[in-house]
Each structure stands twice: as structure tokens, then as C-alpha cells.
């Protein structure tokens, strides 16, 4: 199951991030996790939220440049070497490229959840299935 991530274009100026957060707060949209990639002038804010479609519509209505991106979420034991073994699924012989990734802790138990953006999401899903990993559903990522 793919997870919908909301990606937002932000100029690196005071109050730009605040405006985005205000739009989400006004609609009682909860942020599960986020990450920002930045260069000097602008950044790309990536969000996992509880209502991605509503968030996307609200941001668009506020004239904020944003998009929906399909990503994969994978649960991981919080133990040494766990991430290494997971990454090996993509890198060793399959040569599946990861565009970017970030992590947060599952609120239900002590698992880590890794979010991945792949060039080829279908190949990544197949590789995970072959190696016995389960990709999480949107609801599971949200701790529901």
C-alpha cells in the first residue's frame, strides 16, 4: 500500500512555514511526521498527515504550491543493524535507487517507521515482498 505524502514548495523567508501550518491547523489536520529539504533560497516540506486529500485541497485553495507524492512506509525493529538489513533489500543486487527517506517512531509500540521515496516504487514494493517485509497502510502509519 502506498502512502500519500504532501510536498510543499516553501521560500526561505520568515512566516512561510507558519502559513502552511496555519492552513493545516485551521482544518484540524494532524501532522504525523515531517522533513524539510532545503537549499539557500527555498525548501521542500514533506508531510505525512492524517487527512492527506483534505490537506492537499486546503493548501491549494490557499495558493500554496504543493503536490501529492506516493511513498512507502516500512516498520522496522528498533535494534542495531535493522536499517542496514532493510537497505540491503534495495541496494545489494537489485540496484533500486532511493530518492530520499526519513524516519519516525511508531506511537503504538517501539517500532521505527521508515518513509521511502523511490524512483521505481513498484520495483521497491516487489523487492520488499520478496524479502518478507510488510509495507504499512496509511492507517497503520497514523497509529490507527
Amino acid at each position: 500500500m502506498n502512502i500519500t505524502q504532501i510536498s510543499v514548495f516553501l521560500e526561505n523567508r520568515p512566516s512561510r512555514l507558519r502559513q502552511v501550518l496555519q492552513v493545516l491547523a485551521d482544518r484540524s489536520i494532524n501532522i504525523q511526521t515531517l522533513t524539510i529539504a532545503e537549499v539557500s533560497d527555498f525548501g521542500i516540506l514533506r508531510l505525512i498527515v492524517n487527512q492527506p486529500e483534505e490537506a492537499y485541497a486546503a493548501l491549494k485553495a490557499s495558493h500554496i504550491t504543493c503536490s501529492r507524492t506516493e511513498v512507502l512506509a516500512v516498520a522496522l525493529e528498533d535494534t542495531p543493524g535493522a536499517l542496514l538489513r532493510l537497505i540491503d533489500v534495495f541496494s545489494s543486487r537489485r540496484q533500486i535507487n532511493i530518492d530520499y527517506m526519513y524516519a519516525f517512531v511508531d506511537r503504538r509500540d517501539a517500532h521505527s517507521i521508515m518513509i521511502f521515496r523511490f524512483e521505481d516504487i513498484e520495483a521497491a514494493k516487489q523487492a520488499l515482498a520478496e524479502e518478507g517485509y510488510t509495507v504499512l497502510k496509511q492507517a497503520e502509519v497514523l497509529g490507527q
Partner: protein
Amino acid sequence: MFSPDRESMHPSRLKQLQLERLRWSVRHAYENNAHYRGTFAAAGFHPDQVRSLDDLRRIPFLTKQEMRDNSPYGLFAVPMKDVVRVHSSSGTTGHATVVGYTRNDIELWSTLMARTIASAGGSAEDVLQVAYGYGLFTGGLGAHYGGEKIGATVIPISGGNTDRQLMLIRDFGTTMLACTPSYAINMADFAARHMPEFDFRKTRLRRGIFGAEPWTEAMRKEIESRLGIDAYDIYGLSEVIGPGVSCECSAKSGLHVFEDLFLVEIIDPATGEVLPEGSQGEIVYTSLTKECCPVIRYRSRDITRLHRDGCACGRTLVKMDKVCGRSDDMLIIRGVNVFPSQIEALLLEVEGVEPHYQVVVDRRGALDDIEVMVEVDEAIFSDEMKVMNALAEKIAARMRSTLGITAKITLVEPSSIERGAGKARRVIDKRKPQ
């Protein structure tokens, strides 16, 4: 055609008419205006020397600076009792210049704009919404008088009040729109954002005449597809008369100049030398029948090209290309001449970049810095930094290879760049005047 006998005149008869009128116009300027008398005398020229159209070259140029120096009334060639109106240039590149009109001049101008409306397919059947600013600016009243002259139903709404503009288009059955091209895009943007139920294709709007600022083929396509209309370029300058000097016809391949009323030449802006037809250079105007403010070899600073192609519309009048720049607006960046229109064309070529941009020129130490701010909309936004960086690098690389300048490309959020009802402010030059 509104004036078929003039607009499709045989070239040899046209030349004869031009020569007769040129003699009158030069003599009128000489006899009734001290400034012309002075500059003609200083150049050793007398109106008796005009025996053929080629003798035009003997006459000194009139510059924008001379117009400013003689403001407000120094270039009038009639007594004030005969002047029924004044207009003033928008002053985008310096001090405003003032132009006056006699009753005959207003009649002439109305005819020119009626010809323009007809050239864009308009007629007495049309409901013409004039969204150019009314006032000292020539756009509003020029289109207004032309609309009345041709017998159209004129809606004199003037510029701004975009929500009201859209409501009138819908409720008053507007068929033809007159405004700046950037304002037309602004209207489409406004409708998309604030009036989701508004559909241009459900209105009666069919055509528009757009001018007062340079625009590109890509902007034409955008206006035509978003408003569901035919968009025509119209051209004019207040110093010469206002809008109505030239306009596109159904061929949309250049603007016919109303040569029976204005003589045009193309010169090298650096040397003043007259260039052969087909060359690109600065266009120079000589009015043939104007009374209050005759312009004799007025250097417009507009860069274009003249050509004749036996147009399918039946007009025998010479065509000018879309103005590709102004020698006034020409930026000299580290010694390289750059027109903002070149930057715009380049951005449009780079796939996906919408034409909202601003150029900021500054001087750091002894060097000029140029920054081009480009708005990022959803069509070009990517969640991947490498894609965004590649876009900026591609634009920078194109600027280096085609314009020879190294610019900083800054990606900005939509609407970061101000868009007004009037002329879009594309260039901010922070360097001290030299």
C-alpha cells in the same frame, strides 16, 4: 476593413498620398512650432527640400528627450483654443511627456482605433469592454472612441476591479475585450482562484485587443486558451497618437502600420542610419496629418522589423513585427546588451516555466549582478530537490549560452511577484543612474 480605400490602397498611390501629406506635415511643423523651426534650421533643412519620400532623411530626428524638454506645450503647433484634449505618457522610463489633440486629431485617432477593432474582427455588433485605464493614459479613451466610432456598444469600466470585470463579461454579454495582455492573464488567474463557477467559454467573449506592453506568442496562446478567445496585438504610443498606430489582422503575423497616416522608417539606434526594409532596428515615426503635435522623425526607441508579405487580409500596408524590446529598457549587464523580452522568451522555452518572472539588477562593488526570480507553480514543482535544482540550473545555463550573461536564478512561490492592473513590472534596476 473600416477604411478599405486607404488600407488596401495600391502602393504607388499610397506613396503619392504620403508625399503630399508629408509636405504638408513638415511645413505645418516648421511654420507653427518654434522647436521644429530651430532644429530644422540647425540641420540646414527647409520644408521646400521635400521633393520625394527619400528626402525624409534630410530631416533631423525628434528624440524623447526633446519631447520631455518641451513639456508640456512646447511641441504644440496650434493655438490653445484649438486644443480639445491632452494626454500624457505613462512615464515608465522617465518623466511623462504631454501630447495635445485638436478636434480633427481626436477624429483621426478614433478612426485609427475603429480600423484596429475591425482588423481584429470587431464591428458595430460587438459589445466592447474597455479595461484599459481611463485618464491621462491613452489606452482607455483611445479604445473607447474607436469603439464608438465603429458603432460597437462600449462598456467603459476602465482598469482594475477584476471581480466586477468578470461579472460584466458574464452579465453584459461582452464580446470583445480591450486591456493589457498581463491584465487578461490576471483576470484568468482571478477567475480560477476566486470564482470557480466562472467559465469564460460560457460567456459571449470572442476576441480581444491587447497592447501597451510587449508580449510573446506564448502569452497569446495562454490568453487564447484560458479565455477562449482570439487575441490580437495592438500597438501605439502616446507621443505618436496613442493606440491605433498599428495592429494585427486575422493572419496574426505582424502588425499593419496605418501608413496613410504615419510614415515609418527603421534605423540603427547607434548611428541613426536608415536601414533597408526587413532589417531589425529602431522604428521612427512621422505623422502625416496630425495638427496639434506633429511628430517628424520621432525616435520611438522601440525595436522591431518592417516587412511586406502580400497579406491575405487584403491590406497593402507594411507590417511591423511585435516589438521585441525598447532601446530604453535595454539592460547593459557587465557590458552585454539584454532586453527583458529575451529573458521572457528564454523562460518560456524552458519547458513548464510560466511567464511570471522578475529581473533584479544590482551592482556589487564594480560588478553588475542579475537575479531572475521565477515563480514555481504546481506544473513545475517537484518534491525532489534534484529536479528543482536542475530546473534552476537549466535556466541559468540557457541564459549563459543564449544571452551571454551569468544570472542567479531564484525560484519563488506563486504571487510573490506583484501583478497589477497596468503594466507588469518585469525589471527592477537598483543600480545608480550613470
